[in-house]
Amino acid sequence: MSIRDRMSGNEAVAYAMKQVIPDVMGAFPITPSTEIPQYFSDYIANGEVDTEFVAVESEHSAMSVCMGASAAGARAVTATSSAGLAYMWELLYVVSSARLPVTMAVVNRALTGPININNDHSDSMGARDSGWIQIYAETNQEVYDNFIQGIVIAEKCRLPVMICQDGFITSHGVSNIELVEDDKVSKFVGEYAPENYLLKHENPLAVGPYGVSPYYMEVKRQQAQAMKDSMPVIKQTAEKFCEMTDRDYGFFEEYMMDDADVALVVIGSSAGTAKEAVDRLRAENKKVGMIKLRVFRPFPRIPLSRAMCKVKAVAIMDKAESFSNSGGPLFNEARNSLYDLSGKPYAINYIYGLGGRDITVEDFYDIFQDLYVIYYTDDPGDVYRYVGVRDSRFPDAVDLGRENDNDI
């Protein structure tokens, strides 16, 4: 029988970490992920787990510890947020190119400028091209489930994995959770048994050699293939997890999409708010739907584009700016995936929720209303918009994309 409990997202991740029994954890505290190593240290102090905890002096060192441990043949985990993730930058690429299956809990928090500790996705979205798999969660339950699956995916694909959740919203929000029994988790993740590792004395190995130009590109191409090949592994791991728990995961979740006219694409906890807006509008007989993207890396280009093609207009929600003057990171990739398809929907972008700015059911109402304007007028207007920002041009705080100051 599964165990019913109530936990914050941070505790849920720490609990999952305890159950997967990592050999090494290298971690440095940063809000809002601090509690993860803190809870985990308690487990070690209480003798519940025999993991080697390395208290380092920075996140750069935390990821270096994970890299060294993983290369040595250990199952290595860590947790971080925001500036901590930014400080790991160099090592993110080293770990992924050396194909080391480190699993990292990322508790998403805005990157500084202005300094801020609240949630958005600018930290992990900035790291989207570092060669790490990225899996996002809406709820505490999902982040727990994703972390357990993440270990399997990482080790099968020999790719590092970020298990992301929204800072404070799920990391500190306590909710009901169903935990899997220890023995079942152990069986699910198995022992980490790499073919080659530094401590295998009968077969010495060199990790991370200098890749001069005649070799570098082959290594990168191979990494790109590993990312592609991780798609079926992510799918099979979710299926196996579903057999164990009855909880079903895909690259994304479709909510009320089958007959929808218009839809949202959302990542993370805001999907809960969006579902509420969908439910209320459905009660008013408005055919609206939502897609919650779970796996952002690798990007599920083809299945996602097919799902978006079910509607006539789609609002792609970005909790991160990319200052590209052409929309956020999710928008650019999701919209790009539609390019080759006939019967593709109008796709507009909303930047929302930066630095912990709340997004409400009413905001989603406004967005759906806006989508219906496009639905009936066939005029998408300016596709790059903000929601939830104070704007003197739009006293009701909704950018309807009708005031295009962008036509240069």
Partner: protein, 102 residues
């Protein structure tokens, strides 16, 4: 098939290169000619050598092979021509000369 270091060269494809460019066997630097950027080279004057072996541990590149308790001529595939061996030799058995590249 796992490729050995000998098989990983500038013609290898991305499908065949080892995962993460790992080198899955030890001592592969023996295969690589790193002595080609030498400017000066040591000349071993065997007639002066008393086989004291002082030069051997001083060589930073393990380029003085030893066999049956005797040092042999230099391993020029790996010697960088730093001249430490010549400096520590008490018997004037090593002379540094400018290397003439062919």
């Amino acid at each position: 098939m796992r490729k050995t270091a000998k098989e990983i060269n500038e013609r290898i494809t991305w499908q065949d290169i080892s995962i993460g460019a790992e080198i899955i066997e030890p001592a592969t630097s023996k295969l690589v000619n790193t002595g080609d950027w030498r400017v000066n080279m040591p000349v071993f004057k065997e007639e002066n050598c008393r086989q004291c072996m002082l030069c051997v541990p001083y060589c930073p590149d393990s380029s003085i092979p030893v066999k049956d308790g005797k040092r042999l001529d230099f391993d020029f595939m790996h010697c960088k021509g730093c001249g430490i061996c010549a400096r520590v030799c008490p018997f004037d058995a090593i002379e540094m000369v400018k290397e003439e590249k062919k």
